[in-house]
């Protein structure tokens, strides 16, 4: 077990807390950069998707996990980013510019959706975002002149500085770079006053306000940032799939994204990526197991959603902190070995919170 002897405030500010962390992340970095030489073409394509979903996860984590605002309409932001990128790229905008525009447009839409968030909370906000998801889906379907409607919109391969990124490896590096940048930006935010203000709003609006936090402003900022990140993922998604249609951005997709962050572990950066890995790997795992199942079960159409739902219920009942919580406990078990007690992470009695102020 590691004991940290802190001698400097910067030790709590730095990206990496200690040498061990630096070492493991360096190793992970090397692994990620070397992946194209180690993985098959198909696996690499899946890895790009994990990066893309990881970025969505970061966005949704910022909003739901850190600011406490639940959104069941995030696929809409993904759609806005994807269509913006597809349309701008077709008009010949250079990639950095069109990506920035896709993020800005998503952020602007996020601000508009965030406005009801200033008035409604909890389940009502969730319903508002759900409605927003339907609206965007409908707009994409109906605005045929721009989006191609139900017949879809083909997208060219991404091209950077006049060079087409049309191999799987090149696109993987683009996605990876975006994911790493997004993660660093979110971590930066969380170690500075704005991120702490989000956490404050999540845990107690009333005292956040008494501490001088402008609730409306920070909630709007949270929505905008979350939407911008999701828009960035959408832009990548457009180039990944090379073909967009409205049925990729449905409410079902939104719910799946929300499940992703819950299974990953709400309120942790790791959770965003663990959730993304989970959501990409699960269909693979199921198709791997399928031949082993009895015929009637294996050919059942709803197998995947059922397994997905069961796993979600399992997590909510047994491990509310998701995959990250599970990983954290496992790691603590080994670092404390043999002194880990079953009650180590048991939450102590939660004290009655003030009810008269809400």
């Amino acid at each position: 077990m590691r004991f940290l002897f802190k001698t400097d405030y910067d030790q709590d500010i730095r990206l990496f807390r200690h040498g061990g962390q630096r070492f493991w992340y360096a190793l992970l970095g090397i692994g990620l950069v070397a992946a194209p030489w180690a993985l098959s073409e198909y696996q690499l394509a899946q890895a790009s998707l994990i990066c893309i979903y990881g970025i969505v996860g970061l966005g949704l984590m910022l909003l739901t996990g850190y600011t406490g605002l639940v959104s069941i309409g995030h696929a809409a932001f993904l759609g806005v980013g994807a269509y913006a990128e597809a349309i701008l790229a077709a008009r010949g905008w250079p990639l950095p510019l069109s990506f920035a525009a896709a993020m800005l447009l998503s952020a602007a839409v996020g601000v508009v959706v965030g406005l009801p968030a200033l008035r409604v909370r909890g389940i009502y906000l969730a319903i508002a975002t759900l409605a927003f998801g339907f609206i965007v889906e409908e707009i994409i379907t109906r605005w045929e002149a721009l989006t191609g409607g139900n017949s879809g919109l083909p997208v060219a391969a991404a091209s950077l500085l006049g060079r087409a990124l049309d191999t799987t490896a090149e696109f993987y590096f683009l996605s990876l770079a975006c994911a790493v940048l997004a993660a660093v930006v979110v971590i930066n935010l969380l170690r500075s006053p704005t991120g702490r203000a989000f956490i404050a709003i999540r845990d107690s609006e009333i005292s956040a306000q008494s501490m001088g936090i402008h609730l409306a402003r920070y909630k709007t900022v949270s929505f905008a940032l979350s939407a911008a990140l999701t828009g960035l993922a959408g832009a990548l998604y457009a180039h990944k799939l090379r073909f967009l249609s409205p049925d990729q951005f449905t409410v079902i997709q939104s719910i799946e994204l929300l499940m992703m962050v819950f299974i990953g572990g709400i309120g942790s950066i790791h959770g965003a990526f663990l959730g993304a890995i989970f959501i990409i790997a699960l269909p693979q795992a199921i198709s791997g197991v399928r031949p082993l199942l009895p015929e009637a079960l294996a050919s059942a159409a709803g197998l995947q959603p059922t397994v997905f739902g069961l796993i979600l219920i399992g997590f909510i009942l047994f491990e509310p902190m998701g995959l990250y919580g599970w990983w954290f406990k496992t790691r603590t078990y080994f670092s404390l070995f043999p002194f880990y007690r079953r009650g180590t992470f048991k939450r102590r009695k939660a004290f009655q919170k003030s009810e008269r102020l809400r």
């Binding site: 930006v185 500075s192 006053p193 956490i199 404050a200 306000q209 001088g212 003030s354």
Partner: protein
């Protein structure tokens, strides 16, 4: 005694047919500890919520050092120098003690969103400054041991202290303490009394508090204001107020 820091005049608010606070007026002088006492439902916490602008009064005026608080948005109150604690503890449960105290410094932030996204050197410098400020509070309240613990796992007594610390981290001019000793044992109450005295004498912060523990009240208060059913019934030194017939009646009822 010096001039009034907080001036409350003819303050009234009602919820439905209940007059929670009616025509309440008092002044908190610079550098004193003023305590509001009164039976349950007397309107003490409502006065606090009116000062921190959680409720809108039906009539009356509240001024801090000449600034009309009723014209100020709720989130601007902290920046004017008023920090508060809550009766039932409203900490940020899933954050560490350190983060809670840093959020207390929110009004002193000097960096913008874009600088923070990139974590520019100015942000790092400002973070160090905030941390130094928070460490002073940690030293004062002996919270060193709990610095990195999650609030959700802390015992009640420590949470009370963390909440006091969070309010102090804002470096307020006026500190509103809503029942600082409720739920504390004798020893913890003793500590709380020392801290309140230190806050007044060493930090020069004016304190307005609501408190039921009369031993604590007599020990730390310069003046006491007694309320009952939304109205002020007595004010003066702790001894004067305790002996006041209206106060005795409010607590014990009329002699038969």
């Amino acid at each position: 005694m010096s001039a009034a820091l907080l001036q409350v005049d003819h303050l009234s608010v009602q919820f439905g047919g209940v007059k929670a606070v009616s025509d309440v007026g008092f002044a908190v002088r610079q550098g004193e500890v003023l305590t509001l006492i009164g039976p349950n439902g007397a309107g003490k916490t409502t006065v606090f919520n009116l000062i921190s602008r959680i409720y809108q009064p039906a009539s009356g005026a509240i001024a801090l050092d000449g600034v009309d608080l009723l014209r100020v948005a709720p989130h601007r109150i902290a920046a004017l120098g008023i920090a508060r604690t809550f009766q039932n503890i409203e900490l940020f449960e899933n954050a560490t003690v350190l983060q809670n105290l840093l959020i207390g410094c929110h009004t002193h932030r000097a960096t913008g969103l874009w600088q923070e996204l990139l974590f520019l050197p100015t942000v790092r410098r400002e973070e160090r400054k905030l941390r130094e400020r928070v460490e002073q509070v940690i030293d004062l309240l002996d919270l060193q041991h709990h610095r990195d613990s999650l609030v959700a796992g802390l015992p009640y007594g420590v949470r009370k202290v963390v909440e006091l610390g969070r309010a102090l981290a804002a470096q307020p001019r006026l500190l509103l303490l809503d029942e600082p000793s409720s739920g504390l044992n004798v020893e913890e109450t003793d500590d709380m009394a020392f801290w309140i005295q230190d806050i007044r004498d060493d930090l020069g912060v004016t304190v307005l508090m609501v408190e039921h523990d009369m031993a604590l009240v007599s020990r730390v208060s310069d003046r006491v204001l007694a309320m009952n059913q939304g109205e002020v019934i007595a004010h003066g030194t702790p001894a004067e107020v305790q002996a006041h017939p209206a106060v005795v009646e409010a607590y014990l009822g009329k002699a038969a």
